[in-house]
Amino acid sequence: MNPVNYLYLASLLFAIGATGVLIRRNAIVVFMCIELMLNACNLALVAFSRMHGNLDGQIIAFFTMVVAAAEVVVGLAIIVSLFRSRHSASVDDASLMKL
């Protein structure tokens, strides 16, 4: 199968993730959409790796997974602490600071 198709799929997933970040209101869901974007990047990297016949892209994909895991640790810690003090994980409710 032509690897270019995987690039279309990766772009589609990335766009879905980005749209989700912009329109969803729950911090956890927003965060999941960001993870979807990172995974779309992984798919693109692996597809390009196949096209070029070198391993750089696959290695970056491994690094991305580790980074995504580290981001989950930090992100959930922050979001959970916000939820425990406000009883809401909505990003719209977090508006103490406005212009």
Binding site: M37, C41, N54, I60, S81, S85, V91, S95, L96
Partner: protein
């Protein structure tokens, strides 16, 4: 290369088929440990700091952590100076660690700046005399226990027990370690990893304020979500550039962009004709970097995060993050994408103009001193971008000088903000600063010096920096940018002067804030800020020469 040939690279009949030999075929990577010593020292100390959290008794952790951080930063700075004295920044600069890192003038200059700024920021982190003692324990700007809910019994118990979040020191060291790698990253993977290594600790540091914890947590959530969002864009840009060039090393991509690449295989011939990959990829990577810099239209996080984060962290972030991010931006634009100059220059023109004007104009309407400094930092990002656009050697050196001058002023200014306090912690509303000059002339005068430096008044470092970047921009053919820059400097001067007028020429309010007397730690931070401001303002030549010598990227 055909699909089957590619396939055989990592499956049967390829590398692994002859079981006896393959181990000998994989060369162990050559790492020049002495050349990347600054980074190794800082990261090593950060790891040691985590062990200290685990094993050292709670009472003595603060002292051990502070000592370790200061020693590590000083040692790393000494290593940078030794490398520079060895000519690694000028004559014998080179690519190290299998092409992952560049050791050259801009990298060493910015690493030195980040280390010094980080050292001064660590002093403000360690300040324990500003808040009144809680139950007989000295407290700093950080939450007693970050995990406890604000206002809950567990928080009260933590305060009563005298807990402090000494984890801020290793977190800051990790952030500094990432920042040291960021401007010297020489391939896209290292760029991405360094970005995450310095961003993740910063997200956590933002959430740790002792006072106004809800605001602090909110700032952290906003910074985290937007930061992760922007780094996802950066990563997709990396994927596209990798797809375009078939390599992630800066020099390799630059060769493909310039069209000087040797050995074009069929796969590369297919992708390097596809300009969409190059343009979209470069745009997405620039987006990720401009977000970290805080340039319009990717600036939305700056005011909220600067306001909500603990003030020492804000100072650290505003100074060191900007230095690291501009270093990476410079290297990307000057080493990887010079062949694409005619495409990115118009875009960066627009970004720089929007950043300068919006930062300066919106700052006028601000009523909170931290938000005001945040918008001022956006305007300054615009001024620095004007130097970046010059695409001349002068452009590099002027940006280096500006970053060095700006970072110390910023840390000093935020350190002064921590001193002005009322019952609720820091009194950041501008109305409370009225008449501060009558009540405590020294603090107000020091703050006035910083504001004048931000405004770019002669005899301060701000003037020397602005003059250097505008001169470089004008000579680089961006005269119109300089005009916009001068206009927005004038607009910005209005609100800096307004704060000075407010401090010195209005009546102090009866229930106004008090000015805390800090320990020598914060005094050092503020003193260094004032000293750098005046020295770089009165006699900038030595440092301009230093930046000039350092202003050549290795490729």
């Amino acid at each position: 290369m055909s699909a089957t040939a590619v396939h055989s690279l990592w499956t049967t009949n390829g590398l692994w088929a002859t079981a006896a030999e393959p181990v000998a075929k994989i060369d162990s990577p050559q790492i020049e440990y002495s050349l990347i010593a600054p980074t190794l020292i800082v990261i090593g100390a950060a790891i040691l700091g985590i062990l200290i959290e685990a094993f050292v008794p709670r009472k003595s952790r603060y002292y051990v952590q502070l000592f370790l951080s200061v020693v590590a930063l000083v040692a790393a700075f000494a290593a940078v100076v030794a490398l520079a004295a060895d000519g690694r920044g000028t004559t014998s600069s080179g690519i190290v660690a299998m092409g992952a890192l560049a050791v050259d003038g801009p990298a060493l200059f910015l690493q030195g700046t980040i280390l010094l700024a980080g050292l001064v920021a660590i002093f403000t982190f360690a300040e324990r005399r500003l808040d009144p003692e809680a139950h007989g324990n000295r407290v700093d700007s950080f939450a007693a226990q970050a995990a406890s809910v604000p206002g809950s019994d567990s928080e009260k118990a933590a305060v009563r027990a005298g807990f402090t979040t000494t984890e801020v020191f290793p977190l800051a060291l990790f952030a500094i370690g990432g920042m040291l790698v960021f401007p010297s990253a020489n391939d896209l993977l290292t760029l991405f990893i360094a970005l995450e290594v310095f961003s993740l600790p910063l997200y956590l540091l933002c959430a740790l304020a002792r006072r106004k914890r809800l605001m602090s947590q909110e700032a952290a959530v906003k910074y985290f979500l937007l930061g992760a969002f922007s780094s996802a864009f950066l990563l997709f840009g990396i994927a596209l550039l990798y797809g375009y060039a078939g390599t992630v090393s800066y020099a390799g991509i630059a060769d493909v962009v310039d069209g000087t690449v040797q050995n074009v295989n069929p796969a590369l011939a297919g992708t390097m004709g596809n300009d969409a990959l190059l343009l979209i990829g470069a745009a997405l990577i620039l987006m990720g970097l401009l977000f970290k810099v805080g340039a319009v239209p990717f600036h939305m996080w700056t005011p909220d995060v600067y306001q909500g984060a603990p003030t020492p962290v804000t100072g650290f972030m505003a100074a060191a993050t900007k230095v690291a991010a501009f270093g990476a931006l410079l290297r990307l634009l000057y080493v990887v994408l010079p062949g694409l100059r005619w495409d990115w220059r118009p875009v960066m023109w627009g970004v720089a103009i929007a950043t300068m004007l919006l930062g300066a104009i919106v700052a006028i309407t601000q009523t909170d001193i931290k938000r005001l400094l945040a918008y001022s930092s956006i305007a300054h990002a615009g001024f620095i971008l004007a130097g970046v656009i010059a695409t001349t050697p002068d452009g590099i050196s002027s940006v280096l000088f500006y970053l060095g001058a700006y970072s110390f002023v910023t840390i000093g200014a935020f350190a002064v903000v921590t001193l002005v306090r009322d019952a609720g912690g820091e009194a950041t509303h501008l109305s409370k600063w009225a008449g501060l000059g009558r009540r405590s002339p020294l603090v107000a005068a020091v703050f006035a010096v910083f504001l004048l430096a931000f405004a770019g008044i002669p005899l301060t470092s701000g003037f020397a920096g602005k003059f250097a970047v505008f001169k470089a921009a004008a000579e680089g053919g961006a005269g119109a940018l300089v005009v916009v820059g001068v206009i927005s400097s004038a607009i910005a001067a209005f609100f800096y002067i307004r704060v000075i007028v407010l401090m010195f020429f209005s009546e102090p309010k009866p229930e106004g804030p008090t000015v805390a007397v800090p320990s020598p730690l914060t005094m050092t931070a503020i003193g260094v800020g004032v000293a750098v401001t005046l020295v770089l303002g009165v006699a900038p030549q030595y440092f301009l020469d230093l930046a000039n010598q350092a202003g050549v990227f290795v490729r």
